[in-house]
Every structure is written in C-alpha cells, then in structure tokens.
C-alpha cells in the first residue's frame, strides 16, 4: 500500500492541508509542536477504520474547536492493483466517497464504499504490518510486533526457501488455538469444561456406587428374609417336636412318681417288720444268753474244781524239789570260792617266776650295753688319735710317687757312677761303707756331690753339673713336702701307712657295731631306765619269796608256774559253770513252787466266785421261764422273721422297678426337653421378630424403586462418561493439532528468523558498527544486542539504542517484504534519544531504505533528519 496524497479539512486545528507523497523514498514532514503532524496518522486511521457515522471519542476529539463543521479526511491510495481516492466526513453531514480508478473504475458512497475499501485492503494490504511499522509518538522504544504480519512471514518464508505460509495458515493457527483454548490454558492445564466433565463423571460414579450398595444391601435383606423364613419354618417344626417330647417325658415322670410312692410305702412296712424282728431277736437272744450264762457258770465251776484237784498234789513235790535245789546251789557256791583262791595264788607264783626270768634277760642286756659302751669309747679314742685317713693317705701316696719321679729325674740329669770291685774291697761312699766282692759293682747317680773314699787309697769327690744341682734342689723340695705329710699322718714311712689305715678301718667298724648292739639291747629304753628296771625286778623277786605264805611250795620254775596257773584257771572255770547251773536249777525249782502255790490259791477264790455266779444264773433262768417259756419266745421270733422277709422282698422288688424306670435319666430328659422347647420358642420368636423387622424394612426400601434408581444412575454415569470421553477426544484432537501446528510453526520460524536477523544486523551496521549482532525471540522481537563482543539485553540498553534498534527492525521488515505487500513506514516524532553521530548513521539507513519503501517521517526537530540523503521535506506551517 502506498499513500500518495492526504488531505485534511477542518481536522482539529487544521482548516485545510494537502500533502502528496512519492511512491517510494523518505518524506520528512517538519513542523512545530501542535501544528498537526500527528493528526496526519490519526486522520489516516480514522479514514480507513471508522464509519462516517461513528460518534466514537477518537472522532469527537478531532472536531475543529471553532467551527460547527465535520472533520474531513481524503486520501489517494495505491494498494495492489487498486488505486482509489477515498474521502470521509465525520459527525456533521457525514459522508463517505470512494472513487476507484484502477483496475476498473468504481464510484461508491456510504457504507458500501467503506466495506469496499475494507475488502480491498483486506485483500491487498497487510494490516498487521501496517500497524507494526508505525512508530508513534512516545512508542518509539517499543519493539515492533512483527510476528503477526503475514507479508513479513511470507517474505521470511520465501527467503528461508519454504513455501509461503499465508493468511489461511495464520488464520488456521488462530482457529486451532481458539479450539485448544476451549479446553486448555496456554500452560497446558485443563480448563473448566474438561475438569467439570471429569468431576461430573466422578460424582455420577459415586452416586451409582452408592445406589448399587443400597441395592446390594436390599438384596442381602431379601436373601436374609428367605433364610429367616426357612429358619422360622424349621424352628416351628422343632418347637412342635420338642413340646411333644416334653409332654412325653412329663408323663413318664408321673408314672415314676407313683412308683416312688409305692416304694416309700413298702420301705416303711419293711422297716416296721424289721423293727419287730429285731425285738423278737432281742427276746430270744436275751433268753439264750441267760441260759448260756447259767450253763457256762456250771461248767466253769466244774472245770475249776477239777483243775484244783489236779494241782494240789504237785504242790508238795515242788516244795521238796525247791529245797534240794537250794542246798545244791550252796555247795557249788563254796566250791567256786575255793577255786578262785587257788587261781589267785597260782597267778602270783606265775608272776614271780615270770619276773624272775625277765630279770635275767634284763641283766644280760644291761651287761652287754656296758661292754659295748666301753669298746665304743676305745674305738673312738683310737680314731681321734690317728690323723691318717683315706684322704691323707692318698696325698701321701701322691707325694711319695712325686719324690720318686723327681729323684729319677735327678739321677738322669746327674752323673752316673759305677764302681766295680776288681778284687774284694771295702769302700765308703757318701759316708756309707760298702764291701764289694770282686766283680761286684755299685751304681750310683751323682746328683749333686758324692764322696767316694777308698780307704786309704783315695778320697774321690764327685760333683754334678748345673743341671744336676737344679734337679737335686727340686728333689730336696719334694722330699721336704713328703716328709711334712708323713709328720701330719703320724707315721715314719710310707710303708706304715697301710697298716695304720687298716687299723683305722677296724676301729670304725667296731664303733659302728657297738652302736648297733647298744641300740638293740636298749631297745626303746635308755640305759638308765634299763638299769632301773633291773633294779626293780631284783627287789620284787627278793621280796616275793619273803612275803609269800608258804602253805604249799613255789613251783620250781617258770614253766611249772605257768602250767599251775593254767590248771588253776581251768578248775575255777569248772566251778563257776557248776555254780551257774545249780543256780538256774534252784531258781527254776523255786519259781515252780511259788507259781504252783499261787495257782492253788487263785483256784480256790475262783471256785468260790463261780459257785456264786452259777447259783445266780440258775435263779434268773428259772424266773424268766416262769414268766414266758422258751418255746413261746422262739415261735415269736420265727413269726417276726417270716414277716420281715416278706416285707423286705416286696420293698426290694418295688425298688428295682423304680431303678428300672431310670428316674434320674427320665427327670433329666424331661428337664432337658422343656429347656429345648423353651429355647426353640425363644429362637423362633427372635427369628420371627427379625423377619418382621426385615419385612418392614423391605416394605419401605422395596417401594423406593432402587433398581430404577440404580439403572438411572448408571445411565447417567454412562452418559456423562460418554460425554466426557467425547469431550476429551475433542480436546485431545485439539491439543495434538495445536501442538503439532505450534511445533511446525516454530520450526518454520526458526528457519526464517535467520534472514530477518541477518537483515537487522546488516542495516544496523549503518548505525552501530560491523560487530553488531542481535538475538530474536519467537515473536521476532529483539531481545539482546551484542556490540564489540559485549552483550546487553534490550532492557539494559539506553533509550536511544532501543529506539534505534526498533527503527532498524521496522526498516528490515519493510525491506524484506515484497514491494507489492509493502506498506508505508511511518515515524512520528521518533529518534529523540539518538545522539548526532547515530543520527548520521540513521540518516544513511533511512536513505537506503527509502530506495525500496515509502517512509513518512513526522518531526518537530528539522535538523534531526538532515542526514537523510534524498529525503523530500514538507514543512507544515
């Protein structure tokens, strides 16, 4: 769309103004404030959008204040193939006039004209782009809303190499979004229709469940009612049966009671007969006892008298035997005393001879001890006086052998002298005379010095060398030690040592033997005790004989005494035994006599008593018989016995009959039968009560039409579920379609956002520099700028930078769209925040854009756009 001419008449403060514009290029409309620059854009909007009949505020606002005329706007426009002149007068004598020049002339007025222009513009002009490319006063810093401009999108799509997405697609998108928005929020949450449908379904489902539960409960009641009816029927039958059973058992109880009464009667009769029998038995027993008592008394008296007659002769012989036995016992007693005396004497003699023998033995032991003690003292003394012992003897032997070895060594070391008598001769060697026969020799070693004297012939002195002298000296030391040892041993020569040593051994043996013999003879006594014993025995032996009564001789020796003592013991034992026997016989005889004597006395007493008793019993029997004869008593007993047997048998039979009737069982059965009947009656009542209650409940619930309510609720729930499912299917389809459409649009946008961004960056370099980069959002709005590697979001940019980027974006859009689709870029008092340097760049940019687009600039600052090269300047006055 191109605006070629604009005429304002009586429009606000403007009486008449006509402006013409080239099809492309920059037109700068300058004028001071309130001259009506903004009215130009406003007038164009009113012309294109409002009916001439409108009374809207925006129209009332443009009335001229000083005249009563209607504001007029007229424009010459080219859009697509159309070129038309379009005029409207508002408020006063409203009018709309359209003159279409191409492609074919049309002259229309009024609403028809308005609608025709709407159609032309709708067909040929991108209204969204028209609105987006306008920078109104005060809106300069706002980002252009370019994402809804079909022509731009078409251009971008074409640039991106895709097919053009046109109005149809955008309209479709809006419809799909509208469809989607019926069910979902933009964030994807379900809206009321879906929620309500689901909630309604839930409520209906709850209602259906509730009614179903009620129906199920009712059915349970019905089933229970059938069970109760069956139970009541069964219980009723059981009750009849149990009542009959109770009656039957009651009848049995009555019969049982009669039997029991009969038993009690017979029990009484039997008891009475038994009492009578007991009385008769007592009578008869008393009579019999008295007769027996009398008989017993007679028999006893006879027996006592018979026994007394037998006892009396025995008493005399027992008395004689007792006397004889007593005498014999006295004799035995005397013999025993004598035997004891003899035994005592023989014992003393035996003791005497025994002590005497002990005295001899003691004396031998004492004497041996004395002799051994003497021998022991001698041996001890010898040992004490003899120093040579085995150790010393060993030393002596060693010293002796050493001397011999030293001497032999001295001889070897010294000269050897051999003297051979050539004839019989006498000589003196080392002071010792030797007589030698012819040819006899003497050999001698010369250890130190030797002197040989040939009597009368010569004195020959021999002296050994130095070695001989040393050997002689050592020999002297050895011999000195040897001799000292001999002195210590107390012997003269080594030859005595062995003898002394033998004697010493003998003395040691004797000493040991003496000790052993002394110990043996002392045994456990000391020598003093042994000696004291010997002395005591000697005194006893000497005194016994002098003190002994010499009625008969002392046995000759120990053996005789021992034998005499044994014989006396045996004699005494015999006497003792005889004494014991006679004492026993005496005691028995005495006892027998005493017992017999006592028995005779007792028998006499008993006879007297028995006689009296016999007499009394006989008297009593006689009296009883006088009163009632024995036969009468016996016949009475027999009669009572027969009567009792009869009564007892009758009672037993009746009692057995009662037992046979099992009274306990019958009673228990009767009680139980009654309990069963009572319980059954209770159960029946309870069952009937519950059944009545159920029937009452069923009457109420049955009339509520629960089945149909359940069906209705199910129908309702099913219908709601169907509606919900249908709604959800619709919503789902809308959601999927919208989602798919959005995704595809986003993909497309991503593909054509790039050329738009590139165009902005290309144009922006007029204003900024070559490092400029911008980032766009999904709505094609600039969100950040990068300059010299420094990135700032749009919010953080200065007002001037924002304004400049906003203009650049609009110009980029204007240059991208097809020229046929293009609309004027209208800037109303823009770029007020830009500095002179930027204004220069902006001027170049606007000049560049003006080569392809129609750009209308309204400004009250003439110099602001002086950098726009080929700009057409219209100055308003």
């Amino acid at each position: 769309m191109k605006l070629l001419e604009l005429r304002l008449t009586s429009f606000r403060g403007v009486d008449e103004r006509v402006l013409t514009f080239p099809k492309r290029g920059v037109v700068v409309i300058e004028g001071p404030n309130e001259i009506g620059k903004s009215s130009l854009g406003e007038a164009l909007d009113l012309l294109l959008e409002e009916l001439d009949s409108t009374k809207k505020r925006r129209v009332l606002d443009v009335r001229p204040v000083d005249r009563d005329v209607g504001p007029e706007v007229e424009a010459l426009i080219e859009s697509g193939p159309y070129r038309f002149r379009y005029k409207k007068r508002f408020l006063k004598s409203p009018e709309t006039v359209l003159q279409v020049e191409t492609p074919r002339p049309e002259n229309l007025t009024g609403r028809t004209a308005h609608e025709r222009v709407q159609r032309i513009l709708g067909e040929t002009m991108d209204m969204d782009l028209w609105r987006a490319l306008r920078m109104k006063q005060g809106e300069a810093m706002n980002a252009a809303q370019l994402d809804g401009a079909p022509s731009l999108l078409r251009a971008l799509d074409a640039t991106a190499g895709g097919e053009t997405a046109g109005d149809r697609e955008l309209t479709l998108f809006e419809r799909v979004h509208a469809e989607f928005a019926q069910f979902y929020t933009d964030t994807g949450r379900e809206k009321a229709p879906l929620k309500n449908a689901t909630e309604a379904c839930d409520v209906a489902e709850d209602r259906r469940t509730s009614v179903r539960d009620e129906l199920a409960a009712l059915q349970r009641d019905i089933d229970r009612s059938a069970q109760l009816a069956q139970s009541a029927k069964e219980l009723s039958a059981q009750l009849d049966e149990s009542k009959q059973s109770a009656a039957r058992h009651e009848k049995e109880l009555g019969a049982l009671e009669k039997t029991r009464e009969q038993v009690e009667l017979l029990r009484t009769q039997s008891t009475m007969a038994e009492t009578a029998l007991t009385g008769a038995q007592g009578q008869w027993r008393m009579r019999s006892e008295r007769i027996d008592t009398a008989d017993s008394a007679s028999k006893r008296l006879a027996r006592l008298e018979e026994e007394a007659a037998k006892t009396r002769p025995g008493l005399q012989s027992a008395e004689s035997a007792a006397r004889e036995a007593n005498e014999e016992f006295a004799r035995a007693e005397k013999a025993s005393v004598d035997a004891d005396a003899r035994f005592d004497r023989a014992g003393l003699d035996f003791k005497f001879r025994h002590y005497e023998l002990d005295l001899k033995k003691m004396r031998v032991r004492r004497d041996a001890v004395v002799a051994d003690r003497k021998q022991r003292a001698e041996s001890k003394r010898f040992l004490a006086e003899t120093p040579l012992d085995a150790a010393l003897h060993k030393k002596l032997q060693a010293a002796y052998l050493l001397c011999e070895r030293v001497r032999a060594q001295a001889e070897v070391e010294g000269a050897r002298m051999q003297i051979e008598a050539l004839g019989d001769t006498t000589l003196e060697l080392d002071g010792q005379s030797h007589t030698l026969a012819s040819g006899e020799t003497i050999e001698r070693s010369v250890t130190d010095a030797s002197e040989l004297v040939l009597p009368g012939v010569a004195r020959i002195q021999l002296r050994g060398g130095a070695g001989a002298a040393e050997a002689a000296e050592k020999l002297e030391e050895t011999e000195t030690s040897y001799r000292a040892l001999l002195r210590d041993a107390g012997i003269a020569a080594i030859e005595d040592a062995n003898e002394v040593l033998r004697k010493r051994a003998e003395a040691e043996i004797a000493l040991e033997q003496c000790d052993r013999q002394i110990a043996q003879n002392l045994d456990d006594l000391t020598y003093e005790e042994l000696a004291e014993r010997v002395e005591g025995l000697e005194n006893y032996v000497q005194n016994y004989l002098s003190e002994r009564e010499a009625d008969w001789p002392v046995p000759d020796d120990y053996d005789h005494a021992k034998r005499a003592n044994s014989e006396a013991r045996e004699a005494r034992e015999l006497c003792t035994k005889a004494l014991h026997d006679t004492r026993a016989r005496n005691d028995a005889a005495q006892t027998q006599y005493r017992e017999l004597k006592d028995r005779v006395s007792e028998s006499e007493v008993e006879i007297r008593v028995a006689t009296r008793e016999r007499d009394q019993a006989a008297k009593s029997v006689a009296a009883e018989r006088d009163r009632k004869p024995d036969a009468s008593v016996k016949s009475a007993l027999e009669a009572a016995t027969a009567n009792f047997e009869s009564a007892r048998k009758a009672f037993a039979d009746a009692e057995q009959t009662l037992v046979d009737q099992r009274p306990s069982a019958v009673r228990e059965m009767a009680v139980n039968a009654q309990k069963v009947a009572d319980r059954t009656a209770r159960d029946l009542r309870a069952t009937e009560d519950e059944a009545r209650e159920l029937i009452g409940r069923l009457d109420v619930r049955g009339s509520e039409g629960l089945f149909e309510r359940e069906q209705e609720s199910e129908t309702h729930a099913t219908r709601l579920a169907r509606e919900r499912d249908s709604l959800r299917a619709r919503a789902g389809a809308a959601q999927r379609l919208f989602q798919s459409l959005s995704e595809q649009r986003e993909i497309a946008r991503r593909s054509y956002a790039a050329p738009f961004r590139e165009k902005i960056e290309q144009l922006g370099r007029y204003v900024f520099n070559d490092s400029l980069q911008v980032e766009l959002d999904e709505n094609l709005a600039i969100v950040s700028r990068t300059l010299d590697n420094r990135t700032l979001t749009l919010d953080n940019l200065s007002g001037g930078a924002k304004e400049q980027l906003s203009l650049v974006a609009r110009l980029a859009a204007a240059l991208l769209v097809d020229e046929e689709d293009g609309v004027p870029v209208m800037l109303d008092d823009a770029l007020g925040y830009s500095d002179p340097a930027r204004l220069e760049g902006l001027g170049a940019l606007l000049a560049h854009a003006g080569e392809h687009a129609q750009i209308l600039i309204l400004t009250c600052t003439p110099g602001r756009f002086r950098h726009v090269g080929d700009a057409t300047v219209l100055r308003l006055t």
Binding site: D157, G162, E163, T164, A165, G166, R168, E169, T171, L172, F173, R175, V176, E179, L215, L218, Q219, D221, I222, D223, S225, A226, A229, L694, I695, L698, R701, G702, S703, E704, G705, L706, F707, E708, R709, E710, Q711, E712, E714, T715, T718, R719, A729, R730, G732, A733, A734, R736, L737, S740, L741, Q744, R745, I747, A748
Partner: protein
C-alpha cells in the same frame, strides 16, 4: 374335555433401561414396553382369548419405581381380560417381591400365578414361579412331579427359564429339563408348556413354546417383538405367532472405503423406517479421505438426531483416515500448516485430521 384359546407372552421386563439411549429416547423406550401391554390386550381381545399368561420376567426387577408399577398396573387393567402373571428370575417371589396383591388392587383382572389355579372352566394353569434368583433346581420338573394325569381338564404349565436343549451351560442347575416336560405332556399331566426367558419366539418341542418378548431388548434377538395365540384342546394345539413389537435393535457392519461407500451408508440410514424406535450399532471398517470422513461424520451426526440411538461398536470398528489429493486441494495448506497435515497423516491421527479439516474449511466469517 374342554378347549381354550389364550394369549401366551413373557419377558415384558417393565422398567428396563438401556444406557446407550439418550434423554429423549429412553422415556419413549420405557413407555413402549407399557404400551405393549395394551397392544397385547387388544390382540387377546381380538383373538377371543379367554385369558393372558405372562411367563415370567414381567418386571425388570422387583425394585422398580412405583410410578412405573402404577403405570403398568393401569395398562394391565385396560387389558380387560384375566391376566396371569408369573414371577421369573428378574422378579422372583422373594421377600422383596413386587407381586403383592395390594400393588395390583387397581387391576382386579390380574392374578399372581403360584401353583394350580383354574383360569377357565375345566382349564387349570400350573404356575411355576421363581422363589428367588437362584433356585438351583428344575422348578418345572419339581412342579410336574407332584401332578397326577388330568382326565377331564386341560392343564397349562406356565414356567420360566432356559431349557437344557438351548442352554450351553450344562452345569446350570436351574435349567428346565425338556425330557421331564415332555413326559408330563405324554402322560397327560399337562397339555401345554408356556415358557418365558428366551426373548425370541421358539417352539422347543410340540406344545412347548417360548412366546418371545413383546418388545426387543438387545441386538442378538432374532425373533422378538412377538406374542403367541394358543388354541388348545386335548388332541389339538394351534399356535399362532403375532408380531407386536414397535422397537428395533439393529447391528450393521459397514465397509467404507470411498465416497460412494459413504453415500451408500447415507442411503442405508435414510432407508430405515421407524428411526425414532430403532437402535443401531455400527461397525465401521475401511480407509477414508478427510472429506469422506467428514461427510460420514456429518451423516452420522444427522442420523443421531432421528434414530433412537446410534452406537459405534468400537471393538469392531477400524476406520483409517488418509488425506487424498482432493483433500489437499481443498485445504490448500502450505508452510507449517502443511507440515502439520503431513505429520498427523503419518501418525494416523484421524480425530486431529478431522479437526484440521473442519477448521481449515470454516468460512472466514466463522
């Protein structure tokens, strides 16, 4: 030996609802069942029937709404002939039974069958009601076992349940053993067995009949909407079937693969009489273009306005939507919208495609 003519019907199931019926169709459906009572009464009177027997399932349940009961009783009263009602498995004679004399006080011509009753001179009905929902025994066999052969009376056994010959469930203890019924017919204990439960009129054996339901209840009934007029004597038995149903359940299997097929469906639907009393269940199979699918949907939407109900049998429906050249030309979509169309087509998203088709073809003013 007397003879008699009577009307044999069963399975009224008064109070029955169908969930797929809309708020408009359901009351008509329910009312039709009550109206059928009057139709049956009219038929019985026209055929000079002595009485009418209803062999069970008179009501859909013992717990139906009292309004439904009252309207039913009123219709029964208008029959103006003796009507013998038998309790079936839907409305057994249990503690909650609807067959209480006080409920039918306004229709003195109505009798509740339970045991032997004289329905006409020399004619006895042997009513075998269900005592509860699961009697677990052959009720008819038990009732017949107690009878002695009738020498000078006609006996009609009225029972409810499936006969063993027609039941696949051999373990069902409630089945009626046909052999026992035939024995009773053979030895003269009864002369006709009037059965209910099977909704399609069926002669099970000579003198053993299911009357069928007077109004259909489901798609699988091949001979419902019927009643029987029985003319019975000792040696003759003439049974005449009468169609009395006004409603129709119809299942249709439709193959739709072209515009012509869709047009054929439109014609088929248009050719059905009594649409307001017809319930359709459709199985749709095939592949349609967007335009054809929209046309089919439109046709079904229009049909729904006149038919009692149209169900789509989803289990047996397999309808694929594929845009064809004409669709693409009609839509004339480019850019992202065309990409969306391609994506939905690839996904086989018929609903989204239909929506796209509809929205894209809306008039601008819409």
């Amino acid at each position: 030996m007397p003879s008699v003519r009577f009307l044999h019907t069963a399975d009224w199931q008064l109070g029955m609802r169908r969930h797929f019926l809309g708020a408009d169709a359901l009351p008509r459906f329910m009312q039709a069942r009550i109206d059928s009572i009057r139709a049956l009464g009219k038929l019985a009177r026209e055929q000079n029937c002595a009485f009418m027997v209803v062999a069970g399932d008179v009501f859909e349940s013992n717990q139906i709404d009292r309004t439904t009961l009252a309207r039913s009783v009123e219709a029964l009263r208008e029959v103006a002939l003796p009507v013998y009602l038998l309790a079936g498995n839907h409305d057994p004679l249990d503690a909650g039974t609807i067959f209480r004399p006080e409920f039918f006080a306004d229709a003195p011509n109505v009798k509740i069958l339970d045991g032997v009753v004289e329905a006409a001179p020399g004619v006895d009905l042997v009513g075998v009601p269900w005592p509860n929902k699961r009697p677990r025994r052959d009720l008819l066999a038990a009732a017949l076992a107690d009878l002695e052969p009738a020498s000078d009376r006609l006996r009609i056994a009225v029972a409810h349940g499936i006969v063993d010959q027609l039941s696949p469930d051999r373990d069902d203890p409630d089945r009626i053993r046909l052999e026992r019924a035939q024995e009773a017919l053979d030895d003269g204990r009864v002369h006709f067995v009037a059965l209910g439960d099977r909704h399609s009129a069926t002669e099970v054996a000579p003198r053993v009949w299911y009357s069928g339901a007077p109004e259909p209840t489901d798609y699988d009934e091949d001979a419902s909407g019927t009643a029987l007029v029985v003319e019975l004597a000792e040696n003759t038995c003439n049974v005449t079937r009468h169609d009395v149903g006004t409603w129709c359940f119809r299942a249709m299997d439709l193959a739709v693969d072209s515009t012509e097929d869709v047009a054929a469906v439109e014609e088929q639907l248009a050719g059905i009489d009594g649409k307001e009393r017809t319930i359709l269940k459709l199985s749709l199979r095939g592949a349609l273009s967007l335009g054809d699918k929209a046309r089919l949907d439109n046709a079904l939407d229009r049909a729904r306005e006149v038919f009692a109900a149209i169900e789509i049998w989803s289990r047996h429906t397999d309808l694929v939507v594929r845009p064809n050249e004409q669709d693409l030309a009609d839509l004339d979509l480019v850019g992202f919208a065309r990409a969306t169309l391609d994506e939905l087509t690839e996904n086989g998203d018929a609903d989204a495609l239909a929506l796209l088709y509809r929205l894209a073809r809306q008039e601008p003013s819409a």
